[in-house]
């Protein structure tokens, strides 16, 4: 027990170091937002300012790019989530040998350099008469983001109890009803996190978008172009705002989740007690 306590203590210390490692870059990024320096850094500290928030506010190009990123992200979710779910279900249901091949093809976009995906998408669709633009960026990004969604849904699907499907069928449900009422709700967490992942993958994508975007600019493209001519902490300000929004969201979610699970645990305890009482009566 003593040994275990000592090693637990060590683990906790390690965890602390790990968290520092995890958050140090974020702290640096956030701190650089308030440095007067036009270059986003904390050393040298040229003075404290909030003007980069102002600069961010006034940066019309950035807002347009941000809007485009949101539009693309939204449609990428719309395309990649249904396709990813279908792919996971199909992959789960095909024969073992076909499954290996299909799997290799499906994950290959994850292993392919973005430039290949971007150029091949652009050239292929150009031959079909589809020009670059937000729509093509959606297609190009979805080609590999679908694979992420597929992986997440597949993992959840493997924890699906197929007897639920059979139970529903047995109770008279049609295949469509089984899918809608039983499978889809089960997959919901994976679909939701798949959608979130899809959005952020889309939001962050550079290489594929660069080629397929036509004449439009996304936030990542905008930031990357700023790197060429000199990044300013206005970008950090945007990053900081995004972090804060997610942290607030995360905390709210956590609070809700805890409340819910406490309620459920209490209900279960009551139920078990009732069961014992019933036995005594019987």
């Amino acid at each position: 027990m003593q040994a275990s306590r000592a090693s637990d203590r060590l683990l906790q210390i390690y965890l602390g170091v790990f968290l520092v490692y995890l958050f140090l870059p974020l702290v640096i990024m956030a701190a650089a937002t308030f440095n007067t320096s036009r270059f986003p850094t904390v050393t040298p500290w040229l003075g404290t300012t909030t003007r980069w928030f102002e600069a961010l506010y006034n940066d019309a190009g950035m807002w347009v790019a941000l809007e485009n990123s949101f539009i693309i992200g939204f449609f990428v979710i719309l395309v990649s989530v249904p396709l990813g779910v279908a792919a996971a279900v199909v992959l789960n249901g095909v024969h073992a040998r076909a499954r290996s091949l299909l799997y290799a093809v499906m994950v290959s976009p994850l292993l392919t350099p973005g430039v290949i995906i971007g150029i091949s998408t652009l050239v292929f669709w150009d031959r079909l008469g589809v020009k670059g633009g937000l729509h093509l960026a959606v297609i190009g990004q979805s080609s590999f983001i679908t694979a992420y969604v597929m992986l997440m849904v597949l993992a959840r699907l493997q924890r699906f109890d197929t007897s639920l499907e059979e139970a529903a069928l047995d109770l008279g449900a049609s295949h469509g009803q089984v899918f809608r009422r039983i499978l889809a709700p089960h997959l919901k967490p994976a679909i939701l996190s798949g959608a979130v992942l899809a959005f952020f993958q889309s939001f962050e994508n550079y290489n594929t978008t660069l080629f397929t975007r036509g004449t439009d600019t996304t936030l990542t493209i905008y930031i990357a172009s700023k790197v060429r001519t000199g990044l300013t902490p206005a970008v950090n300000a945007l990053g900081l705002i995004l972090i804060l929004v997610t942290v607030v969201g995360a905390v709210a979610y956590e609070v809700m989740r805890r409340r819910e699970s406490a309620r459920e645990r209490a209900a279960l305890r009551n139920a078990e007690r009732a069961d014992m009482e019933a036995l005594q009566i019987a």
Binding site: D161, S163, L164, E166, A167, A168, L169, D170, L171, G172, A173, S174, Q177, R181, I182, P185, H186, K188, E264, A267, L268, N270, A271, E272, A274, D275, A278, L279, A282
Partner: protein, 360 residues
């Protein structure tokens, strides 16, 4: 029109493996019928054939005289209760119960009303809006039954639904299941490897082994008059004495065994000169009484169970014998090392052909 369930020459093969072999059986409407057998004997396959999840390789299933071939599980008048219950974890209790009605397009009010009725039936009137994760094992069990009853099936199929419960709850639920069956009058086809469940609840039991039905009958028939060595050994405890049939007269067979000549009721196909096995239940063995069948054995172990004790003895042929002795005050004298004189009347024993045992 009667809603009998008929299995007509039903055979199921998976590749080279034959899971179910030429089953012919009629389950009468309103009956509580059990399939009893060890795991892998084909009983679950029969259930899946009845419910429509698998089509038999050969033969026909008829329910209420109607051929079920090509009719999917969602169109059969059956409802299946899964071994793991398969309650929908993301729906509330009443939504689970009313699911079958929901997919039939019944309005929400009617659904809710019917669910409440069923909740009353299973004595859970306040549980409608609970979640499945908030229910105890016994409650889940009852909800699963209510959910199946909601679609008003002609036949209810139950796949070892009690196996996940602890002993006490299991015994309680046996009585409850039986009561629900009586109240609703629905045909119950129950699958289990637990003979206690099969014997206590069922009107009739089919004992299965290796894809075949060994015997069909009332629980007491199965226990008292097993027709095959498999049934004799699988259902309840039995002492067995192997030997050669000396004579068969007036329904009584005499067998020469290493423990001496023993007599018992002659089973089907027992002929003089053939190898045979005599079975006698531990609770039918008597101590120190004069009986036509006499033998002596030495106690090597005693399991005291309270109202009775199980005595484990080394028999004359080297085999182990079990005797159940009721706690009538004489138990303390029974300790390992003691040589006992045992006996049993021929009516308490069954003689079955050994060839059937080898074939089984």
């Amino acid at each position: 029109m009667s809603q009998d369930v008929v299995l007509d020459h039903v055979t199921m093969r998976f590749g080279d493996f034959t899971a179910v072999r030429d089953i012919n059986l009629t389950v009468k409407a309103g009956e509580f019928f059990s399939f009893l057998g060890p795991s892998g004997c084909g009983k679950t396959t029969i259930l899946r054939i009845l419910s429509g999840f698998t089509e038999p390789t050969e033969g026909q299933v008829r329910i209420g005289g109607r051929d079920m071939a090509g009719i999917g599980p969602n169109q059969r008048p059956t409802a299946l209760i899964f071994q793991n219950l398969a309650l929908f974890p993301l729906m509330t209790v009443w939504e689970n119960i009313a699911f079958g009605l929901e997919v039939r397009g019944v309005s929400k009010e009617k659904r809710r009303k019917r669910a409440m009725e069923l909740l009353d039936l299973i004595a859970m009137p306040d549980a409608a809006d609970k979640r499945i994760s908030e229910l105890s094992g016994g409650m889940k069990q009852r909800v699963a039954i209510a959910r199946a009853l909601a679609v008003e099936p002609k036949v209810m199929l139950l796949d070892e639904p009690l196996s996940a419960l602890d002993l006490k709850l299991r015994q309680h639920m046996r009585a409850e299941l039986r009561a629900i069956q009586r109240r609703t009058g629905v045909t119950f086809i129950y699958i289990t490897h637990d003979q206690g469940e099969a014997l206590t609840m069922s009107d009739r039991v089919a004992v299965m082994s290796r894809g075949r039905i060994e015997q069909v009958g009332a629980p007491s028939d199965i226990y008292d008059a097993p027709r095959t060595p498999f049934v004799a050994t699988f259902v309840g405890e039995n002492n067995r004495f192997a030997g050669t049939v000396a004579s068969v007269e007036g329904g009584v067979a005499r067998v020469d065994t290493p423990a001496g000549p023993l007599a018992g009721k002659a089973g089907e196909g027992v002929r003089p000169g053939d190898p045979a096995v005599l079975f006698v239940r531990p609770e039918r063995m008597r101590m120190g009484q004069a009986c036509p069948n006499q033998l002596s054995a030495r106690i090597h172990h005693v399991d005291f169970e309270g109202s009775f004790a199980n005595l484990f003895l080394a028999g004359p042929g080297g085999g182990e014998l079990i005797v159940q002795a009721s706690n009538d005050g004489a138990l303390p004298s029974l300790s390992p090392g003691i040589e006992l004189s045992l006996g049993f009347p021929p009516e308490s024993a069954v003689v079955l052909p050994a060839s059937a045992e080898a074939a089984a």
